[in-house]
Amino acid sequence: MDGEAVGSEAVSEDSGPGRRHRVHGMLKLYYGLNEEGKAEEQPESLDPCDINGPHFDPELFLNKLRRECSLAELMDQETCMVKQIRSLDSDMQTLVYENYNKFISATDTIRKMKNDFKKMEDEMDCLSANMAAITEFSARISGTLQDQHAQITKLSGVHTLLRKLQFLFELPARLNKCLELQAYAQAVRSHRRARCVLQQYSHLPSFKGIQDDCHAIMDKLAQELRQKFRDGGSSAKDLSECVELLLQLDEPAEELCDKFLSHAQSRLESDLQGLEAEIRPYPSASAMKDASGHRLSSTAAAGSPTYNSPKTSTIPSPTSNTDILEFIDRGCNEFVSSLCLVITSYQELFINHAQKGELASKNIPQMANGKLNAFVDDLAARYFSLVERRIQEEKGVADNSLLVRALDRFHRRLQAVTKLLPGSAVPNQGTEIVIRAATERVKQYLSALQSFYMDSLTDVRQALATPRLSVASASVAGGGAHLGGPASGRDAPNSLPELLSSLSASILNQIKSVLASVHLFTAKDITFSNKPYFKGEFCSQGVRESLVVSFIKFVCQSSRQFCESAGDKGGSTPPALLLLLSRLCLDYETSTISYILTLTDEQFLVQHHSPVTPVTTLCAEAREAAQKLLNHYVKVQGLIISQMLRKSVETRDWVNTIEPRNVRAVMKRVVEDTTSIDVQVGLLYEEGVRKAHSSDSSKRTFSVYSSSRQQARYAASYTPSAPMDTNLLSNIHKLFSERIDIFSSVEFNKVSVMTGIIKISLKTFLECVRLRTFGRYGLQQIQVDCHYLQMYLWRFVSDENLVHFMLDEIVGSSAHRCLDPAPMEQSVIEVICERG
């Protein structure tokens, strides 16, 4: 014991790595359950110095202590160990004492138990004897009770039967009560339970009476159910319940179908009436209402008293101009959803149910399906006609998205019907309506574009009509007028190119916005956009052909109309507008048309299945229109100048006129007008090519006039011997010059346009001169005027010889028509013209 105590002390005193190991080992021991057995046993078994270990070797421990510890340590160890031994001793003594007493009492108890068991054995024997007696008694009793038991069983059977009979007898009363409480379902259930029995025993008078009573009651019930069925107020759920019950009561299914549908019809019709009231009064609306009224009254005659409920809504509602989306919404929510509901419940009742039960044999599902289809088709047709009427009212093209959304919703909701009635034509009709609406919309857009174009033209016309710079202010002096002409003329019509660009830009923008609007029809999220029509025909025929191409054609055509309608008087269309339109058409030809068409094709990914108008055709048309307009412009402007010249020639007495001192004012006016036309045309058209001028064109004009040839002509005229000479010279000239077409087609440039105008003016001058007779001074005045024109007009034309030649003709002709042809000295003419 001592050694042990010392050992434990030594361990507790121990320090260094060994001690740590040991503590670790103890912990392991403590948690031994979680460790492997090998691991926890090894430190114990290996250490013989562990005072608490099982392999403790006191000798080794002592030796070890003696070897390792100093004296003082040994002393301490010893005292500590002694102290521990002592306490252990006392503990041991206490334990022994306590346990001794317990052993004593245990022995006593065992002895007492031995005695008690003996007594119990006796009692058990007694008990078994008693039990045997009881069994014997019991067997005897059950033998006696056997008869009574059989009787009781029989009685209870009779009781049950009586209960059932009671149920039967009470059935009429019960049914009546159910009827009172309107618990139809329970009544029907009860009746069904009794029905077979009653049927079976109907030969017995009493049962017959019950059966009759029941029948009467059930008839009443059926009557009531039918009543309820007809009652418009009951909900669809009630209704279906009614139908279910009636079916269970062996009502003829066909009649029920009809009634069900006619009832549903009256309700759906009230929806339709509501929708119709939303539509604005319509020419034939009253007639239509009459018709529907007749229909209603005929159904009413068949037995439905609820037809007057929709009548209240036939009064045109004040909110008739709700927008189309609301209208369609209402149509979808009220009509289409209740239609779907009707279809579902109908199918549930008559088709699905019937397929299970015995009704299937009677071809009920087919019959019911046929009726349903006819019913749906009829109502849907009316609904569609209403929707179409509403869509037709949608004239404004302001917000296309609304219409598209409405159509989308319309189309989407009809898909529900497709799901319910796979074979129905209704969705196709709906799609057709959408298609029609889309084509109609495209048409409306075309007309909107056209009216926009015409409005823009009116605007341009107004802009052109704002007072132009009066030419009078520039006509202070002849030369000044000419120099000032272009500068001052620029102020007034400078808006011409701006007008052109703003016009074409606004048209283009309008086209783009229309395309964007129309594009909504083919948007991905729209249900009907993946229909083949919207993928193919709508894009190519609808948008490209009947919208874009038609519009371009319209532009060309309306331009041409400007030439034709206004052609006679030339007054109604301002010439500047003609010029502007001509340029517009030319621009269309060069770029705009192909741009617009490319844009369209890109936006709509047009795949051309059917032949479409090629760009070149449109371009040719536009070019033709441009040409016509420009020709007409030349004609109109030429006419204006011609009129001035004609009046000036016709109204003067050329025989008795005074010696010319000035160029006549009308000539100055002609030059000014020509100059301003030149400026106007120059704003929109390029210069164009002209034949090269000789270095001193204006000088040369003089020399032509003062040439001896001219003098010779005049001289020849009054040489009696040779009247032929006059013709000869001019004929020779004509032989060598090309024929001049006066009103001919012009090219798209300024010089060609100006040449055309001047040709027309001078030819008029010539023809007018030929109709007059001149005196000496009349001829001289013409000489002066022609010289003046010569000085200023040559610069506008492509070939100055043309002007020379025509003026030459004029002077020549007037010399012919002169009574006293004495031409003026060239130098004098020049002086007069210089003076202005």
Binding site: F743, K763, E767, T773, L819
Partner: protein, 387 residues
Amino acid sequence: MEDDAPVIYGLEFQARALTAQTAETDAIRFLVGTQSLKFDNQIHIIDFDDENNIINKNVLLHQAGEIWHIGASPADKAVLTTCYNKTSDSRVVSCAAVWRMPSDWETGSHESPDDSAHNPQTLELLCHLDDSAHSNAACVLWEPMGDGKRVISLADNHALLWDLQESSTQATVSSTATLEGKGQLKFTSGKWSPHHNCSQLATANDTAIRGWDLRTMSQIYCIENAHGQLVRDLDFNPNRQYYLASCGDDCKVKFWDVRNVQEPVKSLEEHSHWVWSVRYNHSHDQLVLTASSDSRLILSNMVSISSEPFGHLVDDEELSEGEDNHQEDKSKEPLKDSVVSTYEEHEDSVYAAEWSSADPWLFASLSYDGRLVINRVPRALKYRILL
């Protein structure tokens, strides 16, 4: 089937007035009046020898003044009217008169063709168609197919109906019609309708065409703004009584149904300058001749508005067997309004064109420089119309 080349005749003077000798139905004969302020004016009688393509001319002096308009009597070959300008005291006066050709002009020319130019005979004045109140005659119209006793002269804004008596030596105004309106109105041209028993007249002033009833001398219809500018000439369809052709300064030739004056029945715009004259062929009214100051003469085939819109109706019996196939080929071709041909022989403005009164397939045109051109309807067309 080569067409004959045109025949050209040159006058020494400028000329505007041309007419066929209406009463002459055997010889192809045209009358041309010259315009000269310095020399004596002449009337050239142009005879065309169809067989030999030769022109014979005779000249008669018209000393009264330059001729603006000439008209031949429908009854008497030798009688004609002229409208002419007379200058005196630096005043120009327009007059109209009835003349008779000397009886021996024809014989004279045959005897000495060389002398005729040098020593021309003079017209014999029958009577003046002027009275103090009305002058400035623009044109004189003979009663179509009449007996040469009635003429109408258009002077300023008056239409005067004259009765010629005493073998045309005396003229009296039997009735007048006056155009009322603001401004200085002046008839520029007119035509006496051959229909309705010659009781209708059509006149042109400025841009309007008016119809007159000669029995009451009142206006019966008016086509306002018939042309964009001046109306230059008119002609009646010889076979369709309500059809009228007009031409003017807007380069257009328009065809009217006078029962509906709102819109022309047809409008042509082939010329590139003013159209001065329009003439229906006397026998085949689909052929229309127009003359313009663009120096061109255009012959158009206006089938659709003619009296024979489906071609000449020929009885089958008339056709010989051999021609049957030929006929069928022709009938297959649709007849369309078209320009038959454009004649470019003139170098100056063409102011007058006339069909011959003797040969319906022949016509003459006159340009200002005095060139007279005689042409024929192309043979192909001629046969197509006939067969």
